[in-house]
């Protein structure tokens, strides 16, 4: 059960600053729980950002990214009200998509 991301999109000049807080355990597969058992790897492997439907970021992530990561991209040529959609998929095929409108900075 994926929790919602928290996304801010602020326009500065003609560049939209997109900052995303992602709630995800990002388990590396190396950590042991309190009982001493290995915790299975569980991490986001695909992260995408679209700007008015057009892909602007398509990244492959790994266990190296921290728990509850902060992720930021800047989109050139953006305007107030543009739709930015952020999606991730993890290795257990959990998915989450959230969208936000670009606000004046």
């Amino acid at each position: 059960m994926a929790e919602p991301m928290k996304i801010r999109a602020l326009l500065k000049g003609d560049v939209a600053d997109i900052r995303v807080l992602v709630a995800h355990s990002m388990e590396t597969g190396q950590r042991r729980d309190a009982a001493g058992n290995l915790v299975a790897a569980h991490f986001i492997h695909s992260m995408t950002v679209t700007h008015n439907g057009k892909p602007v970021y398509d990244g492959q992530w790994s266990q190296a990214v921290s728990r509850n990561p902060v992720f930021a991209v800047r989109i050139k040529g953006a305007r107030v009200g543009d739709k930015v959609v952020v999606s991730w998929t993890d290795n257990k095929n959990d998915k989450r998509t959230d969208e936000v409108s670009v606000a004046a900075g």
Partner: protein, 273 residues
């Protein structure tokens, strides 16, 4: 320190090396770096995720009684969260006790939602394997007072009693190390390794640490910790017996701290190492 002054400092350093002259005085203090790092973290505080989760938990029907916390009276009337953090701890007639935010939420979760007190206390601190509902709820209620100022009142006799007890505990040396809270928090500019210690005998530092300190997202814990956890951890560092969650002693210390911070502008959750 801005970039140009940093560049100037580096130039001055290089010059001093080259000419072999005089001691270098343009060194920055470790606290400056700490403040800068904290500012950078605060811009994207993962604690905001706990605030949102706390809001969902607060309004969701949960527990054996399938009830939300929207009838929970945190001192501002049933379900009112705005301003609640600013005036806690306070006396509640229904429990005949002075309660802080955590102990009041505990009462609501037991009375309204039917959770078992022991279960809530056992899961009070989140781990990497399990999130804590309490930490999320405290984040939500705390953030709802953002922009307001701490305004704890000592009108009821029990509130004054708790404040006095908290003040006494703050200054009393105890345990094998003979430590009091004030041993670490009575001087400005002191650190444990790189963590600066707020001087809580100074009103200004007290206001800041209470109003913008806890609940806070702790990077090294990957979760939000509350004032109850901070006090629990301080007690462990002082090698005292474990501080009971929502115990009278923990509420007394919180009453002393929060009252002393009156006037501090609330900005929560904080962000810490």
């Amino acid at each position: 320190m801005n970039l140009s002054s940093r560049a100037a400092a580096i130039c001055a350093f290089a010059l001093a090396l080259a000419t072999g002259s005089g001691p270098v005085t343009a060194q920055s203090k470790p606290e400056d770096g700490l403040a800068l790092g904290r500012k950078m973290l605060a811009e994207d505080n993962p604690g905001d995720l706990w605030v949102e989760r706390g809001q969902r938990l607060f309004t969701a029907k949960r527990g054996p009684k399938n009830a939300s916390l929207e009838k929970c009276d945190l001192g501002m009337g049933p379900g009112v969260v705005k301003g609640a953090f600013a005036q806690l701890p306070r006396y509640f007639a229904d429990t005949d006790k002075v309660q802080d935010l955590e102990s009041r939420l505990l009462t609501c979760m037991v009375e309204l939602q039917g959770f078992k007190r022991e279960d809530i206390i056992r899961t009070r601190f989140g781990t990497l394997d399990r999130d804590s509902d309490m930490e999320a709820l405290v984040s939500y209620v705390g953030a709802a007072s953002n922009g307001l100022r701490m305004n704890v009142r000592l009108t009821h006799a029990k509130e004054r009693e708790m404040y006095k007890a908290g003040e006494y505990a703050f200054y009393r040396r105890s345990g094998p190390l003979d430590f009091a809270c004030v041993t670490c928090h009575g001087e400005s500019g002191k650190r444990i390794r790189l963590q600066d210690l707020p001087n809580m005998t100074k009103a200004e530092e007290m206001r800041e640490v209470v109003a913008t300190g806890w609940p806070a997202y702790r990077g090294t814990h990957s979760t939000v910790r509350t004032m109850q956890h901070r006090l629990y951890d301080c007690f462990w560092q002082m090698r005292l017996p474990d501080l009971g969650f929502a115990s009278d002693l923990s509420v007394a210390l919180t009453a002393y701290l929060n009252y002393s911070a009156n006037g501090g502008e609330i900005k929560l959750p904080g962000v810490r190492r």
